[in-house]
């Protein structure tokens, strides 16, 4: 039996996808943090022990940090654990579920708008070469594009899965 307008199979599938995405993003974030922490320690060791250093550590670390922030935004939306001001929601009674659904709809719309803005930025920075690694300039804006698409997806998955918690 379905207790809403969506069939149970769709809700179950969305809830399973949410768990899968939460696990994947959590481990991805952990890997990103371990990588940049390892690089920073390696840099200090190289400087003081071997009087040498790697030129691209900061450049790569900033790129990874940007990915961490935007993938983290997707993870936290799926988990409904972003920092928020809890003034209205705890007292919204029967409106609570509708408000949460409205937030998820806002994430879908906001995520798509963000992806659109990021795409415009990527187009504007096409052809620019960046830093000592001479990476294409638009590479820095890919996390925002991914974040926008991911937020829209997270909002949609939460809408379909229903409920209040991801993990």
């Amino acid at each position: 039996m379905s207790d809403g307008p969506l069939p149970d199979s769709l809700r179950t599938g969305a809830a399973r996808l949410r768990r899968l995405l939460l696990g994947a993003t959590r481990h991805g974030l952990g890997a990103g943090l371990a990588f940049i922490a390892g690089l920073a320690v390696l840099q200090v060791v190289l400087r003081y022990v071997f009087a040498n250093s790697i030129t691209w550590v900061e450049e790569i670390s900033v790129l990874v940090l940007l990915w961490i922030a935007w993938i983290g935004a997707i993870h936290l939306w799926l988990d409904r654990s972003h920092i928020a001001v809890d003034l209205l929601l705890p007292h919204s009674g029967p409106w609570r579920a509708r408000l949460i659904a409205a937030f998820d709809l806002a994430a879908v719309a906001g995520g798509l708008a963000l992806a659109w803005a990021a795409e415009a930025t990527i187009a504007a920075f096409g052809g620019v070469v960046m830093g000592s690694l001479e990476l294409p300039g638009e590479i820095k804006f890919l996390p925002v594009l991914a974040g926008g698409i991911g937020l829209a997806l997270a909002g949609l998955v939460n809408l379909l899965a229903g409920g209040e918690g991801g993990s």
Binding site: L29, L33, A37, V41, V44, S61, L65, G72, V85, V144
Partner: protein
Amino acid sequence: MIGELALLFGVMIGLLLLGLPIFFAIGVSGAAYAIVYAPKVPLMIVGQRFVNGLDSYDFAAIPFFFLAGEIMNRGGISARLLRFARAAIGHIRGGLSHVNVLASMVFAGVSGSAAADASAIGSVMIPAMKKEGYPAAYAASVTAASATIGPMIPPSIPLVIYALFAKQSVGQMFLAGVLPGLGMGLVLLAASIWISRRRGYPARPWQGWGEFARAGLTSALALTLPVIVVAGLVSGAATTTEIGAIASAYAVLVTMLVYRELSLPALWEAICTAAVDSCRVLIIIAVAGIFSYIIANMGLAWSLAKIATGMSDDPAIVLAVIMLILLLLGTVLEPVTLLVVIVPILVPTAQAVGIDPIQLGTVAVLATLVGLVTPPVGFLIYLTAAQAQVRAGPVIRELSPFVLVLILLLVALVFIPGLSLWLPRLFFG
């Protein structure tokens, strides 16, 4: 400018009050401004500012300090620090209440986050205090109040954020946080002693100098962490980010090789948790880029500076007004939002009237931390109330003397600049 400000802050505050995530409210208000005042902020700038907000290697220090605290917490450090605090002051009347404050003070040296402090200390201290007959609401309130020390004593995540946004030295900010952080511990201890005497809370027997020395020895490696952080920054041996990474590596070495309480799977869990926790802060910093850009283009800071200089030429008076504004805003906004959205507007204003930005930093951080323990949204109230299994109302009532002494200390920070500036001047000149 009034219309522009009304749109920018109106949309942001409206969405915040509705309960949307803070990063989303900031981002949408910036985007709404870009749409309404289209030629001023082109679309490609919106995407660019969402990157520029975080486009500095220095911000990597934030997840690294989260990581060091998380590893230390999971590696058995809380139990050692509590043992040390018990051995030091557990014998004074109301001992467990004072132990709670002292443990938070020493835990502050390994963690830069109030939530981590409240979770680590509260999970052990609240049940222990309830078992010894302390009211559950009091146990929750003393845990919540003392958890605010964590983000003031280095390593401190709010001080790093302030330093990066106000373009100040992180090393100087960390040094500036030492005396106010210790001061927070002392005024909270004083309040705890006063309440315990009035209510006749129990005392434990003195455990002897032997136990004090043993407890001190087992905690020594953890207590070395803040020394490494401050010494590294003051000596210029490494950047803030590198110090953060070294602190994490040190935490791994101590908890895995010396304490032997952290397994590899537990380390991985600590890394993942620290990464997720730091994202809550990093994403707000990232989207705040658009906000800072709009505010800078409006010239709001310049206008505020003119108003401030016209209001009074006494830096202490202007700083007191800033303190009141932050205390008021802190009741509904959490520290990171205030530090990335409001404080950058206030820094030029403060400098225009001769307030040292380092002193402003300690005042701003403490004022925003008070918000963590004041209703309606102080999240430490709800966190510790849940730990103690009581309603928030009694916890808020029990918190009032602690909040009062923290505000008195804040007033002292405003009128006695030396409390914030003495140590940075001693080491940096």
